[in-house]
Amino acid sequence: MLLTISTTVRPATDLGFLLHKHPDRVQEFGQSYGTARVFYPEASEERCTAALMLDVDPVRLVRSRGRSTPDYALGQYVNDRPYAASSLLAGALADVFRTARTGRCASRPELAAGPIPLEITLPALPCRGGPELAHRLFEPLGWEVEARAVPLDEGFPEWGDSRYVRLSLRGEVRLADALNQLYVLLPVLDDAKHYWIASDEVDKLIRAGESWLAAHPERGLITRRYLGRRWALTRTAFARLAELGDDVEEELEPPVEEETAAFGAPEDPDAGPAEAPPGGTAPPDGTAPPGEDAVEDAVSEGTALPAQGDPVDDGNGPEAGGRRPLNVLRREAVLAVLGELGARTVIDLGCGTGQLVGALLADPSFTRVAGADVSSQALAVAARKLRLDRMPDRQRARLELFQGALTYTDDRFSGYDAAVLMEVVEHVDPPRLAALERVVFGAARPGHVIVTTPNAEYNVRYEFLTGMRHPDHRFEWTRAEFAAWAERVCAEYRCTVAFRSVGDDDPEVGPPTQLAVFTLGGTE
């Protein structure tokens, strides 16, 4: 809600010329959600401070959007926008200081053209990544950074720090550059979901970053987060339920695999547990509104701006550094097993965004391919990625995609040579595994069942991993535990099992992923 810009250039009151706002007046600028005010708490020859204060009316903020926007939630009424230096402040800054941002100043042209001593203060800056990220983003631009974390609640010291920092920047910087940097970097640091969606964000980023972004070492992260705001989705029924349970919505987001290949970021464990929830730094595919493939593709292929590895996301795990990501190895292993089994009809149970389904479709020896997932959001992404609406009839006829849950018997699961449960069982609560077993091995009863799951023993090889590899994992099995489970299933459902490993088979702890091939005979 508050941003102050001070200078000690002589005379300091020239700041009024540079900002095109008179130091002795309080000026108001109407915004759709409230009022922006510019005033000067101090204005002397030695030092002059301009304050931009944003008066956000939360009621108007909500009413200025439709019901279907992501903000139509309880969170929108109890949110930090009226207090924090958010994207709203960035937007107001761009609007109020429009001319100053261009660097034009007829009355003080030299002052506008060169660096001047500046001090900028933001008392409550939402900063996802902590004070450290503020340093990383502003220091390369010539600022001396003071970023202090704000505690969540002094009454509950065990809760730790909030996501806000009190940020002070000091340096000799051209004022127009400083304003443009703030305009881009405030939302990047905020990285929240609550944004407008405009169609020309790429252009805006390029214009505002013209003089400094290309050389910034964090340009990859900046670009991704800045454009990440586009991933707002219409509020789904699912989101409404997530909220109801006193849960943080992100924790309930579907365990959809991120499109990791595009940024060269490897597997989930390598994504850094600190940023682990899907939809962390890189937008989860599930949040893309339909019809925005162009931007997604542009970003993915790195054509809009150079996309570099994000140090926060970048893996230091064993898969980093040129090796092929584990999810690719896993997919290949499953395809190889299916080939050996001679399976012609395959159902991917828990197909997520359809990566395996796509690979199966690409091989004409699979005459019937089905993908089932419990997340309708994941299925929508799968349909988009597989380009279902443009798929030729002959190929379309081989494919079925539908919502199903592995704890409910389902006739549509039946009649396949093989069923694949790739990284699925570990997302099921242990007390519910028996139901999954009955649904898959008892009722659906395909010829073969292929199960992959993480090998918990291998977790020690992930340097930065604490806990499990994905926040939605309900358990991770050692090789012995996996084998014991598989053997119990075999005894109960009259089948046999063989084990494989996926990825480097570490002599001590085994492979990162374990794979079991079950062979069932006839009806139960």
Binding site: Y40, P126, L241, D246, V374, V439
Partner: protein
Amino acid sequence: MTEENAALTGGEGPAAEAAGQEGRGGVTRIAVPEMSLVVLVGVSGSGKSTFARRHFAPTQVVSSDFCRGLVADDENDQAATPDAFDVLHYIVRTRLRRGLLTVVDATNVQWEARKQLVDLAKAENVLVDAIVLDVPEEVAIARNETRPDRDFGPQVVRRQRKDLRRSLGKISRDGFRRVHVLRGADEIEAAEVVTERAWTDRRELTGPFDIIGDVHGCRAELEALLRELGWQVGPDGATHPEGRTAVFVGDLVDRGPDTPGVLRLVMGMVAAGTALCVSGNHEQKLARALNGRKVRVAHGLQESLDQLAAEPEEFRKAALEFMDGLISHYQLDGGRLVVAHAGLKEAYHGRASGRVRSFALYGDTTGETDEYGLPVRYPWAREYRGRAMVVYGHTPVTEPEWVNNTICLDTGVVFGGRLTALRYPSREIVSVPAEKVWYEPARPLAAPGHEAGRRDPGLLSIDDVRGTRHVEVRHGGGRIKVREENSAAALEIMSRFAVDPRWLVYLPPTMAPPETSRLDGYLEHPAEAFAEFAAAGVRRVVCEEKHMGSRAVAVLARTPEVAAARFGVADGSSGAVHTRTGRPFFSDPAVAGELVDRLRRVCAPLMDELGSDWLVLDGELLPWSAKAEGLIRSQYASVGAAARTALPEAVAALEAAAGRGLDVGGVLERTRRRLENAARFRDAYARYCWPVAGLDGIRLAPFQILACEGRATAVTEPHPWHLEMLSRLDDPLIAPTRHVYADLDSAESREAATAWWSALTAEGGEGMVVKPVAVPGGPPDRAGETGSGTDPGTDSGTGADSGVRTGADPGTEPPRRGQARPSRVQPGIKVRGREYLRIIYGPDYTESLDVLRHRFLGRKRSLALREHALGLEALSRLAGGEPLWRVHEAVFAVLALESEPVDPRL
């Protein structure tokens, strides 16, 4: 003339069935089954359409001309005939599947055309009759000539007539039950058509029934059982003083010591109308043997033949006639009860075909045999989703067990087990032991869950929950629609996060706030809640403290054995506590288990009092931070932190500017006020947070006993009963629910309750819930069966230690059961406190009250009523012992409705 075709009627009914067509004074009367396919046969111009129009409803008749019109815009476009018949067959098949009498109006003069229709009827297991309209060629040609659209020449009629003549000779072999032939225009003109009921249809009989399992010649045990059931038994008959009707599931004969004695008794009862009997496979085979057919003499047939040989010839004849006349199954009590020897899947209820009879007599077999050489049976009951109760025998089991509203009563009396009866509608099981092992079984008796060889884990089918659904509810009326999108969302939450569906027997409904208050400074106030109830005719309400925690439903069984027997959960657990979306409260199973164990101990006296081994509680789990800490930190505390960091600096900047003489207007004042609001906001949430470790610090505030054995107490008992019962729980784990009663006719009483609310919320309370004192869900539909609760008029005021009590004694106006209540009265209205609402509407909501007053309650109120009705439905189904999928359907619907878009602040 009628061509009888008994061989093709599925062997149903006595062979000496009355002729379906009788001439009476020149009027030909044609009888067709109520649920059947009627195929009209006749050349073009023979008057089929006129005949159909006269004798059947327009929707019952499907004509080929009409279908041709549908697919070609021209009823005479012969090129469209194949497509037209596709449509015709589709309509016929759909109607027959739905059990509707259907008449096909097409020439059907060719064998192929008739065969397709006969096959279709058989595939849907309905009878099929033909009515042949045989008019002279000239008449048909003349009629066609008067119709300009029939421009084909007379040769077409002549060719059809030739086909018909060829057909008539052997039409009786086409597979029709009966072929009714009407000759000449006069006979057609004079004919009458009547429908006759199926033999299996005895829906008019409402019982009460005593349904008796496989007897197998055990006369002594049968007599003992009948006496146990209150029957007066004679040598060849029995009557019940209360007029009950016995229903035998078949297999009266073979193996046992006195097959003739059993037959004599049952035949007498059936003849006297005190019993019904369906055929068992043993009767079928014995009758064949007695008829002189070649059968393999095994499975105790020899005993029957020997015993019957000693009987007089007359009895043998009567017994054979009796057994020959037994039908496959009965539909009773308006279709709510089906009795068949080996059970019957829903699609076959009331149907007639060889396939139906075979299912009813032998069950659904896979065609394989087991290690004892006996046929392997398909577990049809596990997939049964019908509304009718299906009672059967055939497969001996050690214990009768309900599987999806079906039950097998064969407890192997002849093998030394017991003879078992089911009393309907009370669902009581009565049995007597065998006097001895009369016959050695070929394989051991199956334990419960025999069909799978292990206990059915309570699996649900996707078809129980998928897509757009209409859930029938008994309280609050009618059917509640659940949209596909909402089902899809609920499926994801349910399958990814919810506890085992066997424990998930209820989800709490949402609750509406009152109309918005006009009082200065208030958005919500008790006055509006009282006014609303008073306007709806409610005179007394209870005001319950609204605890600020997380809504919790606790399902508690006395022991793991009870959990296994009543809930089908056999993993050793004995309860669950879950959130309003069905998630477990604690991720650590040890903590969750400890909470259940402690609650079971605390509630043991309550279970004693209720005479139940289990119960379900609705309450609030405290503190809020126990479950919601993540949310509080990321949402509420974050906002507080930002506000308390930014606002002081904003105030300072504004003060400096004002100090320079700048006119900052009212902004400085407003910002100072906002700083105070931020502090209040922080206090509002912090009040509901305290540290917990394991169960230390956790409290449960129960306010309703939702259900126990045989009783959905949420439906049957008024709120004072619940509060009084729960006030007896004495344990530090339990937080009392403070409450007061208000008499809406008295201004003082209202004021007292309002003052109570003001005091409660001033000290930081969330607010209160106002509920009518009378039974919330309206009258239970069968009050006599759901048990009678403690009369709130006498007991409710006594447990005064539960908390504050002001206002009048609650016992002054006992609710009258069965009293009709306005249907749209909210079950409860929440009135939230002024400070608490900062958590909901934001720290500064008091600054914009005028804007916020424009809130729309319609959707929320409608949702609250629908979810409440669904919740009560789930509990009624649970208490009534209905199968898991039925309970789950209603619970799932609550979750699905919760995903409808409603202003989340309400």
